[in-house]
């Protein structure tokens, strides 16, 4: 018990004094996961829209497949990408293995399914009446799409935040693609795994606290969005629109 308490105080000390190693690891974690989230969102939002607004054979199957990939284990993504990115693998010429760029690729691949799926769900969640109304009012199909995306934007935004949460908290891709190299690819989760293995609990606790702080910020933002969503939904359901 005393170990936890003293570890906690040392951890707070490490954070408050801006311990360079702790800060560097936290900054790298944020950088990688944010980059992955931005790239994944850039791909997943149009992709989700494309799937939602088009009717084609196998659409249901495709959505089921995407939803299955929500829960793909991070180590499986790590393993597949490891084999692809290895210098002796098909994408080896890019030299991405054991680099932050490689980790960004890995986390992007990891969260694209969840983002795409949630974008489709968000768009599907917009009342069918809206598109009917828009069409009856003479909107072109492009205008309809723009309007529906607009209505769904808050739900899409929360999907993006969720994707970020998955990216920053995962350890499989970070460990297998990054290799946990100090000063280069060591991020919060892999550092916690390593330092716990080494027995340096204060350092692990400090990193864990930072990860929790980030999670807290993510949850706060999620809540802000969701509360915004309900207001929006109220408006959609008959509130005054100007």
């Amino acid at each position: 018990m005393s170990e936890i308490v003293s570890g906690f105080f040392q951890a707070v000390n490490l954070i408050v004094t801006l311990n360079p190693e702790v800060m560097q690891i936290a900054a790298l974690s944020l950088f990688i996961s944010l980059a992955a989230t931005v790239i994944a969102a850039t791909i997943a939002i149009p992709l989700g829209g494309l799937i939602h607004f088009h009717e084609f054979r196998g659409k249901r199957m495709l959505i089921v497949l995407i939803q299955t990939l929500y829960s793909v284990p991070t180590v499986v993504v790590g393993l597949v990408l490891y084999l692809l990115l290895s210098r002796s693998g098909p994408l080896g010429i890019f030299g991405l293995l054991f680099t932050p760029e490689g980790m960004i690729v890995g986390q992007t691949v990891l969260i694209i399914p969840i983002l795409t799926g949630l974008v489709i769900a968000s768009l599907g969640g917009i009342d069918r009446n809206i598109s009917d109304t828009l069409i009856s009012l003479g909107a072109t199909s492009f205008q309809t799409i723009v309007q529906i995306v607009k209505e769904a934007r808050l739900a899409i935004l929360s999907a993006v935040v969720l994707g970020f949460g998955r990216a920053i908290s995962e350890v499989g891709v970070a460990m297998m693609i990054g290799g946990n190299i100090r000063g280069a690819t060591r991020v919060l989760t892999t550092a916690i795994a390593l330092q716990t293995g080494i027995g340096d609990f204060p350092f692990s606790i400090a990193l864990g606290l930072i990860l929790l702080l980030i999670a807290l910020v993510v949850v706060i933002i999620m809540n802000l969005i969701t509360s915004g969503l309900s207001v929006e939904t109220q408006q959609v359901l008959g509130g005054p629109r100007t």
Binding site: L18, A26, T37, S88, G92, K150, R153, T185, G197, I210
Partner: protein, 340 residues
């Protein structure tokens, strides 16, 4: 047009949100200009300036912090950025075989000799040694203190499979160098590892983790385990484990380094890897290794070759005084060259 401005506002919000998470994530710790100094040192830019040398190594070498200690010395000498990924020996060798590392630093002579013989590595040099230990609870519930390793393993197996109270053994179970050495003792004690040891009962626990975590697990479970001396000494203060067996020829642990070779490997990387090997076997580094850990643990964690060359079966101790100069494997790779 108003509608479009709402849309663009939404996009802006995404950017702000993402940026906001970033900034708040950093500043929740403490606001101030220090944050920017942290952010302005992304490792990618540093990597562009200096050549990188990627070392695949074992958890036992890394967890003792020996490499952390040697790293800055080499980096300042050669203006190179050393990157270390620590995995079990089995994984490290796989990474090296795929050409994803430049230097291999491990402690499993039998696997190393195959690696070199197959043409994946050149310039194998042994640079240090220490001993494996069987550690366990001081009460020694299996009564194996001061037995030979083989006798002790036989006794452990017997008492373990009989469900003798308090007899547990935690194995690395991860194809690491330490695990390989453990399996070698089982085989010397005439046990078929896969059929008679693995899954022979609740007493034999396969951790599948690094050495430090395995030691902690053994300590928590009041179990025996097989460890290298260096990692044990550096973790000792956190453990309720004492050395039970520390004598026996099968406990010798030899650390070797080699340059990774494949046809795609640029010659500059091979030369830099050779530099690292020559750095490790240099008089200065050998002296540094001999001092490493003395102040903290009262004894050196590793015995460099310059202090003592252990006696071991032919081939296990690699060359150690000769400078590493080969840029590719010898023209004819045969059994005779691999065994010298």
């Amino acid at each position: 047009m108003k509608k479009f401005s709402v849309l663009s506002l939404g996009i802006l919000l995404i950017i702000l949100l993402v940026g906001g998470v970033f900034i708040s994530g950093c500043t929740t710790t403490q606001p101030g200009p220090a944050v920017t100094t942290v952010v302005t040192t992304p490792p990618t830019t540093a990597a562009v300036e200096k050549p990188k040398l990627l070392i695949a190594t074992t958890t036992s070498l890394y967890d003792t912090k020996l490499l952390d200690y040697l790293e800055p010395k080499f980096e300042s000498q050669y203006n190179v950025d050393i990157q270390i990924t620590s995995q079990g020996t089995g994984k490290a060798i796989e990474i090296a075989k795929k050409g994803d590392a430049d230097v291999l630093l491990v402690h499993s002579p039998s696997q190393e000799l195959v690696f070199v013989k197959d043409g994946f590595g050149i310039n194998r040099r042994s640079f240090a040694s220490n001993y494996f230990l069987v550690v366990g609870p001081s009460a020694d519930p299996a009564g194996i203190r001061n037995m030979t390793p083989e006798k002790a393993f036989t006794t452990l197996h017997q008492k373990g499979t009989n469900n003798t109270a308090g007899v547990f053994f935690v194995s690395r179970g991860d194809a690491s160098g330490t695990h390989t050495a453990e399996k070698a003792i089982w085989s010397k004690a005439s046990f078929n590892y896969t059929t008679r040891v693995v899954k022979s009962g609740a007493w034999y626990i396969e951790a599948g983790k690094g050495m430090g975590e395995t030691l902690q697990m053994a300590s928590e479970k009041k179990a025996y385990t097989f460890t290298d001396e260096g990692t044990y000494l550096s973790y000792k203060s956190n453990l309720q484990l004492v050395p039970i067996i520390s004598e026996g020829s099968s406990l010798l642990n030899i650390y070797s380094v080699m340059t990774v070779y494949n046809e795609k490997q640029p010659v500059e990387k091979i030369q830099m890897a050779n530099n690292f090997i020559n750095f490790l076997i240099s008089n200065q580094t050998q002296a540094d290794i001999a001092n490493f850990g003395v102040d903290k643990y009262g004894k050196a964690l590793f015995t460099p070759m310059s202090v003592k060359v252990p006696t071991a079966p032919a081939g296990n101790v690699g060359d150690y005084p000769t400078l590493a100069t080969d840029l590719k494997p010898p023209a004819v790779v045969s059994n005779t060259t691999a065994a010298n």
